[in-house]
Symmetry: C2
Subunit: 414 residues, 2 copies
């Protein structure tokens, strides 16, 4: 089967002059690509009819996805331009209007004249009903080519692309479904993972592709395969993932884009355990990660953040002598912080951090980036030292992820 190519065209001056980062293009490209469509070009153009005409005429790709310029105001000219380009009449489309009415009913809004006009569409397009906004998507067939126009609002665009556009593209071009599973890893860098799993990777069946997708503090491993039999593909991917898990069990924390805070949250919920934090260098960031999960109040009780020594001493019950003898960034202090936080806040587990986030404040013995992390559990306290470099925000984020992963490992054992 020959490759099917797509061009993605995003319309809008706010993108063109860099006021807004064009996240739509990469999202659409990634979705199409994961479904077996190759990408030829991403393009941002001005909202003029000339620029729209030229970009469509220039494209030699089978698929053109256009976003933006579908709003109700005067500077939204995409619909009019496409109607002109395809020599269309504009007609009133009752199902689109009904959709707008039901959307507005839900939100208790009044429908204005310009809202109603959103239901006017070129007669020769297939309208794509937008469940989250007033601008319908439009699908134009031209011989073997398809031109799709979607709203620029990311939420509306994403739903329309996933629900309406991708399935039609797969049908039209008879694409094989590409099936993915993602393995989430933490704690080890991309190149070290590549070394560890080299043998396994070399033996992967030819129809399975592996991509390393690093993010700050994490590496996602994406396995993809093309197969007309969905169950067979999933079984094959799962078999490979099982073998991978045997090689790097400690660094795999989950699958398919789950976050470490969700994984840990689910484990705490399942074991009906509670958690608190006693943070110094991470300054509340771990508590924030935990509490940004909806429902975290069922396992998270609270935290003490102790930047100053006397809060460590008075609240967390760290011994002043220990601080004086070992320094505040030490195994002795971090373990007392974790135990103290656990006792004070009456939780099953407590995460503690103490370190020099930087960029200032290091010494020769304890350079910037030195971080101690401890987990107090019902039966014991574990702790470990890390060296994370000089970048403050990165240190805070990396420390938090490492701490969450230490807790995950602790919860797995018990």
């Amino acid at each position: 089967m020959s490759k099917i190519y797509a061009d993605i065209i995003n319309i809008g001056d706010e993108l063109l002059i860099g006021q807004v980062v064009n996240t739509n293009a990469s999202w659409i490209a990634s979705e199409l690509n994961q479904n077996g469509v190759a990408i030829n070009e991403l393009k941002v153009i001005a909202d003029t009819e000339d620029a729209i005409f030229k970009s469509i005429s220039d494209s030699k790709s089978s698929i053109i996805i256009i976003t933006g310029g579908l709003g109700p105001t005067n500077d939204d000219i995409t619909k009019k331009s496409l109607a002109n380009y395809f020599n269309s009449n504009i007609i009133f489309h009752k199902p689109t209007y009904d959709q707008i009415v039901s959307l507005f009913g839900e939100r208790n809004y009044k429908i204005t004249k310009s809202n109603k006009e959103q239901a006017n569409i070129p007669h020769n397009c297939t309208p794509l009903l937008n469940k989250h906004g007033t601008a319908p998507g439009m699908w134009f067939d031209r011989d073997d080519q398809v031109i799709v126009s979607l709203p620029g609002v990311p939420y509306e665009m994403k739903n329309l692309l996933s629900d309406e556009v991708i399935p039609r593209i797969i049908d039209k071009y008879n694409l094989n479904h590409i099936i993915h599973r993602t393995v989430m890893t933490i704690g080890v860098g991309e190149s070290r993972i590549a070394e560890l799993i080299h043998k396994w990777e070399m033996k992967l069946p030819k129809d399975i592709k592996l991509a390393y997708l690093p993010q700050p503090g994490l590496v996602r491993l994406r396995l993809s395969t093309v197969n007309e039999n969905y169950n067979e593909s999933i079984a094959e991917l799962n078999h490979q993932i099982e073998m991978l898990h045997k090689i790097i069990p400690d660094i795999i924390f989950g699958y398919d884009d789950i976050t470490i805070e969700e994984v840990v949250g689910n484990m705490l919920k399942e074991s009906s355990s509670t958690i608190s934090t006693a943070e110094s260098c991470t300054g509340g960031y771990i508590a924030h990660l935990i509490t940004r999960i909806s429902g975290s109040s069922s396992y998270y009780r609270g935290s003490v953040i102790s930047y100053s020594n006397d809060i460590k001493i008075n609240q967390l019950n760290v011994s002043k002598n220990v601080i004086d003898s070992y320094g505040v960034v030490s195994r002795e202090v971090i373990e007392q912080m974790a135990s103290g936080g656990r006792n004070l806040l009456k939780t099953d587990y407590c995460i503690a951090t103490s370190g020099i986030a930087g960029p200032k404040g290091g010494t020769k013995d304890k350079p910037v980036g030195t971080v101690w992390i401890a987990i107090a559990s019902p039966n014991h306290v574990i702790s470990k030292e890390y060296h994370l470099g000089k970048h403050r925000e990165r240190n805070i984020r990396r420390s938090a992820l490492i701490a969450m992963n230490m807790l995950r490992q602790e919860l797995s054992v018990e």
Copy 2:
């Protein structure tokens, strides 16, 4: 003067298939635009010689900025392609090599053969020395057009563009310097600001342009002017900003892209005051905002995060009767939390938050998004109720910014 147009071309498969969001394009577009260059098109293309040739040949703009494909590995083909396109010989460029040597000396790295090859450049380009990486930028003049190639690493690209490319473009096309000042506002939405400052905006001198740049929880107001006399322009902008400040003094928290946490941090440092937080619904996010500023340990002492009522009662000294009578999301409780946190942690100021972040947990009386915020100061406690909608992460962020702004106002008065 007729407009000078630029095209921006980013090369790379990781951009094309959406693995990486193309932040380079918007950054370059914004920089060029702020210096008086109009943008014609942003384009992402594959790393093939064909795609590179075609994108340059197709461009009718005066300026073409190309990024990516300058690394030392085999799939980096931009330099070779440009050399072919411009019929160049590749020559060894000693100053570029010296720059690489000095860079590697700093970092204590050994120079490999492929590093040394980075100093080979097309004979007919002007090399642009890269102080932060091994790949030099390349500037090709062709009649009235200029083609610039820069590395794709954002840090290297940004420094080269600002230090080497923009000044040369201003010279070559004899552009007027555009001067900007940004007014940072918080607490009021874009459309309400537009109403409040309408009269002032209508009276702005014609050569001053105003842009509204909203961000989550903030609106930046950017004033720009073109004038050959720098001091005159700055004086004119400052005069307008003074008048603007008289109209909306409460919502302006700073200038020129400072953050609210930096502003508050500077105010605390200047008054030698200390701060703590007693967070419930924001779950540590305010502490995180404060502590991500380097040097915050001089004014930030710590926090108690109290998701559970008994931490509010036992640590923050909130009365159980008050919780039972008024509910935990109430003026009475939030004021006790702020006072209790201030006393416990021995700080001059304490920020407290309590609310229903959502998406679950609301009642008819107190729907999701209800948030109480209090500031305890040396002399009194102030508090206020907000209704922020149903989106959990947005509620947390907005609550935190509102709280920081309440503290800023409190610090301004005293």
